[in-house]
Symmetry: C2
Subunit: 321 residues, 2 copies
């Protein structure tokens, strides 16, 4: 739907990524963006370089094309950039996949220095970066960091989504990439499903055109920040000091590490019995591990539910330490 | 969206195809149904048996997986069934793909006898039939023919669509197939785009639940029948006797054959200059041919536009005979 595509190109341009309609393809959520990239770049046995842990849905899309993984651990500033070059040399990955802002599952954000360094490596070794960025607008600090795409230009395919800023049920996202790649993806998408729902595209277009989007993002930034704060305070109050967690500066998730002998998967059915749920972390690790980790969502529950849920979960963890 | 899936299963059951929710997968239009089937069944070089001509979008989906084609010509009762068995034996196709009702592009409908015979062959040689059926509800005779699926059961995957009976812009369709296949497709679809738009599914669910669908289908059947009649009369009046056309009993299209030395593709830019458009037929032939054919749509134009368009087109054809 050309007017929507033009709005997306204009908004990207205003934020440091000069773009035209030819750089944009509307997709059925970010997931279809990742799928189109996986289709185009991955042959069976090809390596993808990913953060450890990383977004499960991306792993599923890459797995379908029989990818293998080079994993790089993270600290509070994102991917451990010092390990990236050696791993690129050894495994020659076809893609570098990152969720640079408020990562799913950890909530970690890659620092500006590492963004620049990752782009430099990608250009030096001629490996496209996929910057999966559904949460970037939901930042709790006053300013967002410059995107990897704004540094890397055509070396980067940005995968974006309306799911976290308007509604996941509309199932719409977009990619912003080099125009030759976008033109190819458009043909592949036509074979796959002709095009994304025109009706949903109009809904989103009207929502943006009437000026609802930015105030809405402002509102969820405020709401989610307050909920993050509440969850962090509850964790401090209710969890033993052996448990560690991240302090995300945006997004929906935080990440919790139990003592290494504990299994978040084994605790899960007991937690559900007590009516508190989380996502255990091991499936987010491309090459295994992470049995003692879990992802907590702070955006969906009420303040009272956050307090109650963290209390129950803290109690459960203490009982099993 | 389970309530919509249940409605689709119930409607199929009422019409001769006993179905449960496990037989149904909601897709992004019929095109994604075809794409999922192509992904699952076609390896490079595999044959698909198709009518000649057949739906271009299906060819594009199969081409993506590097299919080859066995084509079988049609007469007014559909695929020439006597040729099917020998072609199955010679090429061992992985799929039989048919648009049995008011075919795109020809408007031809397969007879009941041939439906039964095709199912018998499919079962005998263990080759799934894909019955792409977006137009079946738009029949101009009082009763619809029993579907191929109602004869073939689990030997048939029916591909359906809301595009022709509610709106193409909602981009929703569904498949009705064996539950093991549907369960597999569901996983593949999850990798591809998680799920189809919940919002659009609710729109359709409410449309059906409030009883709007069947009266709407009744209305378009009446409208399109009148337009088909108008176009057939205009063709009789305006076209030379050397030109042949089909007389569809439903759907949106009729099919026109010019004398064999003429090229519908070459005439096309001249027709567009005179502001009358058609789709030239050659791309619908999987293995080439059909240069003298064209597809006409009668559902979209007004009565006056049909008269005017056919007059201009008839004049153009006469000038180039």
């Amino acid at each position: 739907m050309p007017p929507l595509v033009e709005i997306l190109a204009r908004r990207a341009s205003e934020r440091g990524t000069p773009s035209t309609s030819q750089n944009i393809l509307v997709t059925n959520g970010a997931q279809q963006g990742i799928e189109l990239i996986a289709r185009a770049f991955i042959d069976p046995g090809d390596y993808v370089l990913v953060e450890n842990p990383t977004y499960l849905g991306a792993l599923q899309a890459f797995n379908y094309y029989q990818a293998k993984y080079v994993t790089v651990d993270m600290d509070k500033d994102g991917i451990l950039i010092d390990q990236v070059e050696e791993k690129i040399r050894r495994h020659k990955p076809k893609l570098i996949y990152t969720v640079s802002n408020f990562q799913n599952p950890t909530g970690i954000t890659m620092s500006v220095e590492r963004r620049r360094a990752l782009v430099d490596l990608a250009i030096q070794y001629d490996i496209p970066i996929v910057d999966d960025n559904p949460y970037g607008d939901v930042h709790f600090t006053p300013n967002r960091l410059p995107t990897i795409k704004s540094y890397g230009g055509d070396a980067v395919i940005a995968v974006r989504s309306f799911s976290k800023i308007i509604s996941p049920g509309l199932r719409l996202g977009w990619i912003n990439g080099p125009k030759e790649i976008v033109a190819q993806f458009e043909k592949v998408k036509q074979c796959a499903d002709l095009h994304s729902s025109t009706f949903c595209q109009y809904v989103i277009y009207e929502f943006i055109r009437h000026g609802y989007l930015d105030p809405h993002i402002e509102k969820i930034r405020t709401d989610y920040r307050a909920k993050r704060d509440r969850m962090l305070r509850a964790l401090e109050a209710r969890f033993p000091t052996e448990v560690k967690w991240t302090k995300p500066e945006g997004g929906l998730f935080l990440w919790l590490e139990l003592p290494s002998h504990m299994s978040a998967k084994e605790l899960f059915p007991i937690a559900v019995e007590r009516k508190v749920a989380y996502v255990y972390g091991s499936p987010f690790f491309a090459n295994g591990g992470g049995e003692n980790t879990m992802r907590l969502n702070f955006s969906c529950a009420t303040m009272a539910e956050i307090d109650e849920g963290i209390m129950r979960l803290g109690q459960l963890v203490k009982e099993h330490m």
